[in-house]
Amino acid sequence: MKRTPLYEEHVKLGARMVDFAGWDLPVMYTSIIDEHAATRTAAGLFDVSHMGEILVKGAQAKTLLGRLIPTSMDRLIPGHCMYSCLCNERGGVVDDIFIFMIGEGDYYIVVNAATAEKDLAWINGHNETSAAVIDVSAETAKIDLQGPRAREIAARVLDDDTPAGLARFQFTHVTYGSSPMMVSHSGYTGEHGYEFFLPNANAVKLWTGILDAGRDLGLKPAGLGARDSLRLEAAYSLYGHEITDDISPIEAGIGWFVNSADDYIGKEILVAHKAGGAGRETVCIEIPGRGVPREGCAVYSGDDRLGTMTSAGFSPTLRKGIGLALVRRGTAQAGMDVQVEIRGARIPARVVRRPFYKFHD
């Protein structure tokens, strides 16, 4: 099993470790509910060093990326990042990614751990340009500081107060422990926060430094369990669940980033989906009464099976069962009563507006 540079820190903190995509990672330290609540009210600190980082460099870097993603590369300016995905020929998703534009011909891509090798092969396999594609995952640590007190805590740890001035999806480089560190105002929790990318060698220093600096403000280390419950409340997609090789971004409800005029892979299908041709859509469902939906639960309207839950669970913030479901398009509008099948019983549920938890800045 692979270990991040923070493995010993997790063990010291008494974390419960699990195998996640071949990585030994903390699912929780004390309690998913407590770590979730800390992130919503103060701050949570996440080790996500397992995630992949790929550099795309050279005069033709933009051309290569323009061929791979359905989002217009012209929307990206230096010092900013954007969410998009790598699409296959069928309009399905190879992976969802974040692209950071460091400068002209200099891009930094963040990918999922489980798909990093597949992504690299995909990018290299479709590279007909002179752009260089360099995998820096192994030497890069990633630490996310998320929550309403994140700005305050970051200011205590960094000598440089520039991160405090970053707009959402803006990033900068600072010096930390005599090495460069990338600091981005972004995250995966629905809260204000930062993502730090730094060499493995400085990961322990930053991790312990942030924990010490934020302790009196309510900061807690937070595991993958809280990361998942937080992203579910924010209705963010998780690769392998809402988006797969067989589900298009439009079907997953992230079609807003499909806007490129370039000739990208999967364009014909995505354009058709965007024009109303998708067979399915993703909706938010909550259970007003008792019952916790889980991934795989069938969603019904009377005897009509509309689709299936792609991610679901208990929302610690809303104190009820919530989930995302992939259903036949047009069969489930916000406000509609539906039923979710849990252990053979049809439990009353309701389609609600996306997201469950509105981004809190």
Binding site: S31, I33, D228, V292, G313, G321
Partner: protein, 130 residues
């Protein structure tokens, strides 16, 4: 180290049983089980009047991440369920042997009780599972 009261009987599936007189068995999940599950957010109770065979699924306890089946430690009829858990499932975490009891069975006889583990046996079983 989790709490394992001396006076209770246990199963290898981490249920506990306390006899209340000769025919009523109060059942729940152990301190170790609630620690493993962590934050319990939902308990599905059995129907009152249900006849259960020993080892048959009686209830479901869910945490944020996991779903865990609870089995009848002995055969019997469900005569009472802890409806307080419907609104306060966290009692299973905070007081697993007290307020967090899950169901009561009316048993036919004491024979099956001999198959259950005592506190020492259960402690050894928990240790062996680690």
């Amino acid at each position: 180290m989790s709490t394992i009261p001396e006076e209770l009987k246990y199963t290898k599936e981490h249920e506990w049983l306390r006899m209340d007189g000769d025919f009523i068995a109060v059942c729940g999940i152990t301190d170790h089980a609630q620690e493993m599950l962590t934050d319990i957010v939902f308990v599905e109770l059995p129907e009152k009047g249900l006849d259960l065979e020993k080892g048959e699924q009686a209830a479901v306890v869910e945490s944020v991440k996991a779903v865990s089946n609870i089995y009848a430690p002995v055969s019997g009829k469900v005569i009472e369920v802890n409806t307080i858990l419907e609104d306060s499932p966290e009692l299973v975490n905070s007081d697993p042997y007290g307020e967090g009891w899950i169901f009561k069975l009316e048993i036919k006889g004491a024979a099956e009780l001999d198959d259950l583990l005592n506190a020492d046996d259960y402690a050894a079983h928990v240790e062996a599972e680690k």
